[in-house]
């Protein structure tokens, strides 16, 4: 299990314990965490699972591939260097301690 903390739009923090292999987007949507949408269910076609990486725990994030990069150009909020699509981040024990900020909008 992997602890991932979300900083929500109102500044409050919420930590989810995510089962290994599940994506951060999936876990957030299943827990009804406001601010992450994931309309396409993780198919890399909606860009509504945008997050900003605030802090990385021990491990490393998977690199951004071409398709994620292309889709990040279309996110609704500002794209920044720390932007990622959370459906592409799968929970691994090494990622525990990851902190993400929810953008002001997804569409």
């Amino acid at each position: 299990m992997t602890d991932v903390t979300f900083i929500l739009r109102d500044g409050s923090r919420r930590t989810l314990d995510i089962p290994e292999g599940s994506s951060v987007m999936q876990a957030a949507v299943m827990e009804n965490l406001k601010g992450i949408d994931g309309e396409c269910g993780g198919c890399l076609s909606c860009a509504t699972c945008h997050v900003y990486i605030e802090a990385i725990g021990a491990g490393e994030l998977p690199p951004i591939d071409e398709e994620e990069n292309a889709l990040l150009d279309g996110v609704a909020a500002e794209r920044r260097p720390e932007s990622r699509l959370s459906c592409q981040i799968l929970a691994t024990p090494g990622l525990s301690g990851l902190v993400l900020r929810v953008p002001e909008r997804q569409m």
């Binding site: 396409c40 269910g41 993780g42 198919c43 890399l44 076609s45 398709e67």
Partner: protein, 439 residues
């Protein structure tokens, strides 16, 4: 008598439950091949509380997919069979037999959505007229070389029917040799010659006693239970007089099938397959050791009371299973007609959707039931501990299993085991399809 907790462990079979995870480690019968022979070979399948759609594509390949469309959840059992797969009628998404998404026609040109969609799909195998599917983790086991799987198509016939109760109480009827003397008692014997394709209507081997008479007049069987590689072997002895003993050998093929004799030449292998916690389908495979089976007659006999497409019996709880007190007085022990299957159906459906085993009282004659439950507990624990359960076979193990012996005859030599083993070996030697003897 067992605790509520233990009863739940045995009877609840949804995904993630201990028994559900055990049963998911085996091939499960999901349909008759007959059901996918018509003009539109698409059938909904509900298995272990989960919903699937089974279909045969234009090339004849079988596929079993999750039933809800991955787009917005419409029911793929109403799909269009075309263009190399099954197409959802809601927005036209198309899936092949492996669950690969082939088209998402409403998406803009160049959309990659389709490449990333994969509908859940499950391995399917056809044996002796039954479609089996594997919905568990890891690799499916190999099919053992049991008679019902190695006999040619001409010598096997498969049918199924719905019983509205939990799978375990249905299977437990099949390991209860004593009930046949009561539940299936007819006050007069029918002419065994007029009994094609029916159970308990012929005579036992080496005797002219109709089985109905043996069951009726000798009602305290001595039951013994042995652990064997495929599960359990039950031997029921009914002493007829000083020199003759009626012997009946039946089996449990773990986890969910029993193998019993139907007549001197035909055996029955019957699975009880959970639809969900409150319903199960029996799938029966008849295997002949002599002549080819008259499948047409056998199918028509059964479709008359278990009509397609759902194979739900005409006699059921809603009409009191056709109970007739006058018949019960004069002709049969139960009063629900002469179809043995209806008797067994009443017995287990009348126990309720899930039998409350906190209120039962088992006797000596129920010893196979207790032996089976011990085995079931042990195998559930193995799976929970990540071990391989009994009968989850690899190819080498599967090739060593034979038979199993199922036998109904009258011994006069005073050595019953020798008698049924020899009798079974003789029958196998004479079988036109080279049935091999169980070790």
């Amino acid at each position: 008598m067992i605790s509520q907790e233990q009863n739940d462990t045995y009877t609840r079979v949804g995904r993630g439950t201990p028994c559900g995870e055990l049963l998911r480690r085996y091939w499960q019968p999901v349909a008759l091949v007959d059901e996918l022979d018509g003009p539109r070979p698409v059938r909904p399948v509900r298995l272990l509380g989960e919903n699937f759609v089974l279909f045969r594509d234009e090339q004849g390949r079988f596929g079993m997919l999750d039933r809800d469309c991955p787009h917005r959840g419409a029911d793929l059992a109403y799909g269009r069979l075309e263009a190399g797969g099954l197409r959802c009628p809601f927005h036209g998404w198309l899936f092949d037999a492996t669950g690969k998404c082939l088209e998402t026609p409403a998406e803009p040109v160049g959309s990659k959505l389709c490449d990333r969609i994969r509908q859940g799909s499950y391995p399917v195998a056809v044996r002796s007229g039954i479609v089996f599917a594997y919905i568990g983790k890891g690799t499916p086991p190999a099919f053992p070389d049991l008679d019902c799987f190695v006999a040619p198509e001409t010598h096997t016939f498969a049918f199924k029917g719905l019983w509205e109760c939990n799978w375990l109480q249905s299977l437990e009827v099949g390991m209860d040799p004593a009930h046949a003397s009561f539940l299936h008692r007819f006050f007069e014997d029918e002419d065994p010659e007029a009994s094609y394709g029916k159970q308990f209507r012929s005579t036992s081997i080496d005797s002219d006693l109709p089985i109905t008479k043996v069951l009726r007049e000798y009602d305290r069987p001595q039951i013994s239970v042995a652990s064997v590689p495929h599960g359990l072997r039950l031997t029921s002895l009914r002493p007829i007089d000083e020199t003759q003993t009626h012997v009946r050998v039946t089996n449990i093929v773990f986890p969910q099938a029993f193998v019993i004799p139907m007549s001197p030449t035909v055996t029955i292998t019957q699975w009880h397959v959970p639809v969900d916690d409150h319903n199960n389908y029996w799938f029966t495979l008849f295997t002949s050791f002599t002549d080819p089976l008259d499948k047409k007659t056998m199918r028509e006999q059964r479709l008359a009371t278990y009509p397609a497409p759902d194979y739900k019996p005409l006699r059921n709880r809603s009409n009191n299973w056709g109970y007739n007190p006058a018949e019960q007085q004069a002709q049969t022990y139960l009063g629900m007609g002469f179809d043995i299957n209806v008797h067994d159906q009443w017995a287990c459906e009348s126990q309720g959707p899930i039998q409350d085993r906190t209120r039962e009282h088992l006797g000596q004659s129920d010893k196979a039931i207790t032996a089976y439950r011990r085995l079931l507990s042990a195998e559930i624990e193995k799976v929970a501990a990540g071990e391989t359960p009994l009968m989850h076979l690899d190819a080498a193990q599967a090739a060593t299993l034979r038979g199993p012996v199922s036998f109904d005859g009258v011994d006069r030599a005073g050595d019953v085991e020798r008698y049924w083993r020899d009798g079974d070996a003789r029958r196998r030697a004479a079988a036109p399809w080279g049935a091999e003897v169980e070790a």
